[in-house]
Amino acid sequence: MNTREKEEYLREYEVLKKKGKPFFPYAIMKDSVMACVVVAVIIFMSLYLGAEQGPKADPTTTTYVPRPEWYFFFLFELLRVIKPPELVPIATIGVPTIAMVLLLLLPFYDRNPERNPLKRPIASIAGIMTIVAMAFLTFLGANAGSPTDIEIDVAPEYEAGKLVAAQSGCLACHQFGENGNNGPGPKLTEIGARLNPAAIARSLEIGPGIMPSYASMAEDEPEKFSDLVAFLSSLNGEEEVAASEASTTDQSVESAGGDAAVVEPDAGSSADGAGATTGSGETP
């Protein structure tokens, strides 16, 4: 804005102000009505949505995958949308920082004297796009389901193992059906068809490649571990078949590497050393 435009604006504003009404009672009335609406909405939300308390914080669990408050969903969703590891710093650092700086400096780079939103299309469209993008990311974040969810239908006896898999961070590197990240680890949707249970158990304990070892789980919580192996073995891409096969036989197999007994209810496989070795090579 140059000096002439500034003076013109101030003159115009002065005229409109002279034609206006005093702050009291007109604006105060509207503000008070609005304040009542705000407090009524807050009270309503408090009464109907409540303030439930989750389970106590436990720093020793490593399986709890957190969700932020909903108004940070768009930031978290940004992280999910941008998958390649080399781009993640851009999502976490770049976008929010740039957005913040752009927002702070808005009056200094938008020097168009026009104020009517209909007459400054670029600014208006940019604003609307920003709102739509944030709303869309928030919507995605709200509907993404818990990041710990695996939405594959399995037979009831594998539900426990599915929960263990969901909470053990497998989804960070592996994909189960539609859930989880596709990479760096292979898809596990049909892992049961490719590896026998003993091979799966071995892979979990060794942690081939960059995959972390789950040997401590096999030692400390053998039941969880066997549930996990059973669940993974049941994944052969055809959910119904897996369920019916599984219900026929239950067989106990000594896991090759550790002292934990792995209960695996898939009849077609036995713990042979060759299978376990190839398995550990393929599984990461």
Binding site: L10, L16, K30, D31, A57, P66, L75
Partner: protein
């Protein structure tokens, strides 16, 4: 440019002129002021009379007595009787609504602080006690929890209104910057407050949040060390978040709100951008804008038009 000259002395220090258009001439001032919220607000018939009675009959008149020692009348009169531009509509209540949501947060927060223990061992139990045993405890906690969401929504809508109305432009640039700082501070409140219930959800979300902070440019690692009170999440982290949540950031927010409001009063609220002072011939305006202006002008002149 009369407005620029008005900027120089703060109104609270300038005694009202006897013939001030906002004071003596306004018929509904006294009744209106008496209905005001503040019981101690110094009320007189008009500023001119106040000056004389204040000096001569102070002991007989409590309001005059107070006012003689505070001189608040002129400030209040200038505040309350200042003109707001033609066409001001319901969109202009969003800022005060955000402020009110903050007040709700402050009040409920004080009551929560009376029962909360910011130690990793006792925090969860104190929230359980507050929720289950304390009278209206869950209700107040719910208000604080959901009030945060309401405040965040309101602050974003208020910012969107400011953006689309071009209200951040000359001469209100600084107020926009202060507003963005307030937005960041409000998000900081949301972030630090999320840890305090100390359940699984809040604990792990905060760990992830602090780690993400740590990847920030330049100050990032120092910021997350500061937040955690060390390189790892420790026993003092919760206390640190508590102090930030209820002392540091609220103090900053209150100071910033003060500056924000000061500038709002100083610069005046904007008129809707489609309104033009009717000094120019009508041909210079487009029909579309004209229609909007007339429509809203009608609302404005009826005083309390319906929500637009």
């Amino acid at each position: 440019m009369p407005d620029l000259q008005k900027l120089l002395p703060p109104p609270m220090r300038r005694p009202p002129k006897p013939g001030h258009p906002n004071g003596a001439g306004n018929g509904d001032a006294p009744a209106a002021l008496k209905n005001g919220d503040e019981p101690e607000s110094p009320v007189t018939d008009n500023p001119g009379k106040r000056l004389t009675t204040g000096v001569k009959d102070a002991p007989a008149d409590l309001v005059g007595w107070v006012d003689e020692r505070m001189g608040a009348t002129s400030f209040l009169t200038a505040m309350l009787m200042r003109k707001i531009p033609k066409g001001t509509n319901w969109f202009y209540t969003l800022g005060s609504a955000t402020l009110f949501a903050f007040v709700v947060q402050a009040i409920t927060g004080v009551f929560l602080a009376m029962y909360y223990t910011p130690s990793p061992v006792e925090a969860y139990a104190s929230i359980t006690h507050l929720t289950n045993d304390v009278f209206l405890g869950e209700f107040v906690r719910g208000m604080h929890k959901w009030g945060a969401s309401v405040m965040v929504i309101l602050i974003f809508v208020h910012m969107a209104r400011t953006f689309f109305f071009g209200a951040y432009k000359y001469p209100r640039e600084i107020n926009w910057v202060i507003g963005v700082v307030l937005l960041i501070l409000t998000m900081t409140m949301g972030f630090t407050g999320y840890l305090l219930p100390f359940d699984q959800r809040s604990y792990w979300a905060t760990i992830v949040g602090v780690n993400i902070n740590g990847t920030g440019p330049l100050v990032g690692p120092y910021l997350s060390d500061f937040l955690r009170a060390g390189p790892e999440f420790g026993a003092t982290t919760l206390q640190r978040f508590y102090a930030i949540h209820m002392l540091l950031v609220p103090g900053a927010i209150i100071a910033m709100i003060g500056a924000h409001l000061y500038l709002v009063v100083k610069m005046g609220t904007t008129a809707p951008p489609w309104l033009r002072a009717d000094r120019k011939p009508k041909e210079s305006r487009s029909h579309e804008v004209d229609a909007i202006a007339n429509g809203d002008g009608a609302n404005g002149s009826s005083g309390n038009g319906a929500a637009s």
